[in-house]
Amino acid sequence: MLCLTDPKSADVHKKRLKAKTIRENTSEETTGGNLTMTIQATRRHLLQTAGLGLAAMPLMVARPSFAQSAGKTYKIALSNSYIGNKWRLEMENVFKAALQMDPFKTEVVGSIYNSGNDVSKQSQQISNMIAERVDAIVMDAASPTALNGIIHQATSRGILVVSFDSGVTAPSAIKVNISQYDLGKGWAEWIVKQINGKGNVIMVTGVAGTEVDLDRNKGADSVWAQNPGIKVVNRFTGMWDSSTAERNTAAVLPSLPKIDAIWCQGGTDGVLKAFISANRPLPPTAGEAENGFRKMMLGIGGHTVTGYSAGSPPYLSLMALELARRILNGSYPKKNIDVPNVFLSNADLKLGVNVFADQPDSFFDDFTAGGPTSPVDICAQAAIDGSACTDQKLIINLPAA
């Protein structure tokens, strides 16, 4: 966080605050909409411009996000827990961007709260949302069970609760998620096809003890069971993190025979980098939607891998938001949604659409599903800094009711 101060950056920030003040008087922007700079830049400025931030506090206080709700139909709040990784930032960015685009711009007043992994804080924030009489709460929970009490409180007061990503077990909450089992299975099936049902495979798993990790592994194991020719020669955790995956792969690689395929839950680019460092050929790889992995699938950077990329998409927050809006206006039944997995092969990749040369390896390319018929179509800018797409085009297709 400690960066050298660019003398200009403080100015920029000042202007931003000024712009904010003006906008408060004139426009109907929502809380999230004011974030026009990149998240990284904003965070960098956080410390540098602490004094300015302080000066701006009364302004913020004077701007209740729901005060401009005249004409808007629904209050929807996003309750997020942890905000410390790229995925969560993109998830929140697309949410912010959506609030500035139709239909949400005219129909929804939104707000966003982060609690970190502190369950009692998230619970307290949700009770404040209840006090604020929101119509719906969209949440990425810090615990599957620990918020059940407060979720029950919300739903029993007629508030719609939609959970996504880190789901909750509360029966009264609507769940929006991909099938992690199918994801693991889809990766494995592709591998079987690639190597004709015979060969050595390594499995790079996720954070042990989580449901997501368990389900993905189960999905893969169901495929291996059907294909006795596949030999899983090693199974180790990559913690869904590129550098951890790289380190752990590098550690086991010398002891491994020739690898015919890689099955990886996350940190895929890290696993491949370990192969490159060890001068091993890159086998067919099924993995997450990291930009680094997809760049390699396109051969950017000198190494090319045959890959199959899919993941838990950041746009789940948009599916949840849209579901909440549709349920509230009565155009969709109150039921859980399974968001279909979108698997991309080398041929499906297109620079600037679902791979980005100027974004870091850790960027998740599946902030959009791509194409007007897909579940979600949104521009890259929205995922990068939370600003509205210039063409104001936002398409969210819920599965047929």
């Binding site: 005060a67 620990a146 059940n148």
Partner: protein, 334 residues
């Protein structure tokens, strides 16, 4: 007995009882003032944004969300008073929360017995810490950091996946969602603390926190007192685990983790000295409420989500600095 020859006469009137009470409980007085200020600020923000007064729901949910932290802060206080620190608070909460999720769904008798057993587990955890610190002569920070991992590990083994359930009656008593029943736990903690303060153990805990060597030269067993303080702390942590489970209506073996740090924050806000020997459990309780009120205030101030933690830190820092400055002024004016 004849009077001694020389009398050291008083040179002036003594300070009033109130003046003594205030300067000696300045930490407690300040946290109460801080809490009142927070409540007022919260109410103002609430009225401005919601155009109505906060009501029963707000009170009930704030109480229910704070009670686990209040007990965790109490646990931390008991140990910090001995000039120790308990980083395993979060681990004990994880463990007791996990056990609670698996065992409490039974008849009322079974629930009661298991509740007592869970408090016993807390005491055992504290015993382990206390023995390692007092008899093993190890640094409290190292011991409790290690046991934190151990307790977390056992908890995750007992309850690998979040789940379980709480009997509605149990939740109704500990974290009633409909009426602010938890309000009664504040005076209960107050009375228990007053009793503790008036037991030889309470005096001994404060004494060894003041100066273990001096305390032992007056016949206070430093080892016994240390172990008992950690054990009581363990029981309080177990209470936190139970209240957390009751409020969540289910168990999760990782939700206690954050309490290690927040319990220290609440205790310090409550005027408990990390150098031991000074502080009050009641202050820690109010400190816990302050931290939750800060979350509420920032919520209704509608701070940009990326700035929320920044302002939270700023707020706490300002509170600690203000308390310190006021405390020094009061002491100097004596």
């Amino acid at each position: 007995m004849p009077l001694p020859e020389t009398i050291l006469a008083a040179s002036g009137p003594r300070r009033s009882r109130l003046s003594h009470a205030l300067t000696q409980n300045i930490g407690l007085a300040l946290v109460v003032a801080l809490l009142i200020a927070c409540v007022i600020l919260y109410c103002v923000l609430y009225i401005v944004t919601q155009h109505r007064l906060p009501g029963g729901f707000e009170l009930t949910s704030t109480l229910n969300n704070t009670m686990p932290l209040a007990f965790a802060a109490l646990a931390q206080t008991l140990v910090v008073l001995t000039r120790g620190i308990d980083l395993s608070v979060g681990g004990v909460i994880d463990l007791t929360n996990a056990v609670a999720a698996l065992t409490l769904m039974g008849g009322p008798v079974s629930t009661t017995l298991w509740t007592i057993a869970i408090l016993g587990i807390g005491a055992l955890c504290g015993l382990l810490n206390g023995v390692l610190v007092a008899i093993g002569r190890l640094q409290p920070i190292l011991v409790t950091l290690s046991t934190l991992s151990i307790f977390q590990g056992i908890a995750i083994r007992i309850l690998p996946q979040p789940g379980g359930a709480m009997p509605p009656g149990f939740t109704g008593v500990l974290a009633n969602p409909n009426v602010p029943l938890s309000l009664i736990y504040i005076p209960i903690i107050g009375i228990l603390w007053a009793i503790f303060r008036r037991t030889p153990l309470g005096v001994a805990v404060f004494a060894i926190g003041n100066d273990a060597m001096a305390a032992s030269s007056h016949g206070i067993s430093v080892k016994r007192t240390t172990i008992l303080a950690y054990m009581l702390g363990g029981v309080a942590s177990a209470c936190a685990g139970l209240f957390l489970a009751a409020n969540a209506t289910a168990g999760d073996a990782t939700t206690g983790d954050t309490y290690t740090l927040t319990s220290i924050v609440a205790a310090v806000l409550g005027g408990v000295s990390l150098f031991g020997g000074r502080g009050s459990g009641l202050g820690a309780l109010f400190g816990a409420f302050v931290t939750v009120m800060v979350v509420n205030i920032l919520f209704f101030a509608h701070i940009d989500p990326l700035y929320q933690t920044f302002y939270e830190g700023l707020f706490l820092l300002a509170a600690v600095i203000a308390a310190n400055v006021i405390g020094q002024i009061v002491r100097r004016r004596r």
